[in-house]
């Protein structure tokens, strides 16, 4: 049975939560895996992801219908490539409104594309509410991401994953030194990992930890699908109950 091709939507309703950083990590992780890959940068004012991956990432402005066609028509036409979307807080509401209105998730699944929302969490009530509402309305797989640089504490009950096996992605806290290194425009995670001439350092360890989290997520998703197939049932997204896990 062919496995669905993942479509990762990296998002948060708030600024400065590490969306583009996670999208960069995903891009380089899949490049290292030598997968066919394409990305979309939905931050028309500051397309940081598109500037770093000029041949792989398309900047898209979805405020216009033409831009929406440029994004969603391409997403469903390409059933072979893993896809990464960096969805900024600006077009956040409009993106999910369009997804819902055009029936995107159902069509994507029909074409063996699995939308997975990597939702960067924070401790504000509006983010918690937004997570719960979207999870119940959109029908995609939601995986919470705890970026320790944004908030030290993570309340699991506020951000239940759509399926138990998805768990939570943890991005370890960055020291200012590491942050300074990885934010350089020319910095590449994979190039840095390939060069350990001076022995592993804090940056290597940090990248290794995040890549391990991403590898774990892919394995958990695969395991969930296999388990579900063995049971002979599809994997329906669980309903979010009142924004809190029981």
């Amino acid at each position: 049975m062919p496995q669905p091709v993942p479509l990762y939507i990296v998002t948060s309703p708030r600024p400065r939560t590490g969306k583009t950083l996670l999208a960069r990590l995903l891009m380089e992780f899949f490049l290292a895996c030598r997968r066919p890959l394409v990305g979309f940068d939905l931050n028309p004012r500051d397309p940081g992801l598109a500037e770093r991956f000029r041949s792989l990432v398309w900047p898209v402005d979805i405020s216009e219908t033409r831009g929406q066609m440029g994004l969603f028509d391409r997403l469903i036409a390409d059933t072979a490539s893993t896809k990464v979307i960096d969805l900024g807080y600006g077009p956040f509401d409009q993106f999910f409104a369009v997804v819902r209105e055009i029936g995107f998730v159902a069509e994507a699944r029909r074409r063996q594309i699995e939308p997975i929302v990597l939702f960067l969490t924070d401790s504000t009530a509006s983010t918690v509410r937004s997570y719960g509402e979207l999870q119940s309305r959109i029908g995609a797989t939601f995986v919470p991401v705890h970026n320790e640089s944004v908030s030290l504490m993570f309340a699991k009950e506020d951000f239940p994953p759509t399926r138990a096996e998805c768990g939570v992605i943890r991005i370890p806290r960055l020291s200012p030194i590491v942050r300074g290194v990885i934010d350089r425009p020319s910095f590449s995670f994979n190039a840095h990992m390939a060069n350990m001439s001076g022995g592993p350092n804090e940056v290597h360890e940090w990248i290794g930890n995040v890549y391990a989290e991403l590898r774990d997520l892919e394995l958990r998703l695969l395991l969930g699908r296999l388990t579900s197939n063995l049971r002979g049932a599809p994997t329906p997204p669980a309903k979010h109950k009142g924004g809190r896990a029981r």
Partner: protein
């Protein structure tokens, strides 16, 4: 013989979206497997016929031979529903003709089901039209359609004026047609196919087409909302009550309403 249904879509003003509403009705009846024919009175051009060529004919509603083509065949046609898209300015004259030929009497006697969709413009003149039109419509199902598809804002209607008019016509039911994404509307126009065919990604001869998924999604969602309005007024039952079509037939839903 089943009781035929005549559905008239009209307005005395142009550019309010009569043909668009007629198209949504034809799609609705198609989806409910209700045999339907249509007459496009935009003679000699005919916009409705461009979208529904197989079931539409262009007629001149003011000519007696064409009136005979429509009304003398009501009891002999296979179609249980006849939709008439009345060109701008001809709604009141058409209703007057229907009265004169005894059609409205037949409705009164229960021999025919008569449904009128009166598409309203944004001006006060549209409210005055209601008064003119409603005087003919004692035994018909009369629906007042606020059509937002072409971004009408109904700016001249203040609450008090609106209420005073609508109080007079207690039997009239209001329907709202929501706005459709402009590019999606334009693409359906270019494709010259029914909305339903566009959603199914088919061409005029049912061949596979390559319309944008986004635009098809917008049309599907919008059509679902329009049909939601038709379901709300129980249009299927109104028509089925007069025809051989089953009242509780398979219900085709484009998309659930949000």
């Amino acid at each position: 013989m089943a009781k035929p249904t005549v559905v008239v879509v009209g307005a005395d003003k142009g550019g309010v979206g009569k043909t668009t509403v007629a198209r949504t009705l034809l799609d609705y009846f198609t989806a409910h497997h209700i045999p339907t024919r249509a007459f496009d009175t935009e003679s000699p051009k005919g916009t409705l016929k461009r979208f529904h060529p197989d079931i539409s004919d262009i007629v001149d509603a003011t000519s007696v031979p064409d009136q005979m083509r429509i009304f003398d065949t009501l009891s002999t046609t296979d179609a249980s529903v006849t939709v008439i898209d009345v060109r701008a300015g001809l709604l009141s004259p058409t209703l007057r003709s229907l009265r004169d030929i005894g059609f409205l009497d037949a409705v009164k006697k229960g021999q025919l089901t008569f449904v009128v969709f009166h598409i309203l413009g944004s001006s006060i003149a549209s409210l005055n039209e209601i008064e003119d039109t409603s005087s003919f419509l004692g035994d018909s199902k009369y629906f007042l359609v606020k059509n937002f598809i072409n971004n009408t804002s109904f700016f001249e209607w203040d609450q008090a004026t609106h209420a005073s008019y609508f109080r007079k016509f207690k039997d009239a039911v209001e329907i709202t047609i929501p706005k459709l994404n402009e590019m999606a509307f334009e693409q359906v126009e270019l494709a010259s196919v029914p909305f339903l065919t566009f959603v199914a990604n088919k061409g005029p001869k049912q061949e596979p087409a390559n319309y944008s998924f986004v635009l098809r999604g917008y049309v599907r969602h919008w059509l679902g909302n329009v049909w939601g309005e038709y379901d709300r007024i129980k249009l299927n039952e109104i028509v089925a009550a007069g025809s051989a079509a089953p009242a509780a037939g398979p219900r085709v839903q484009v998309v659930s309403r949000s």
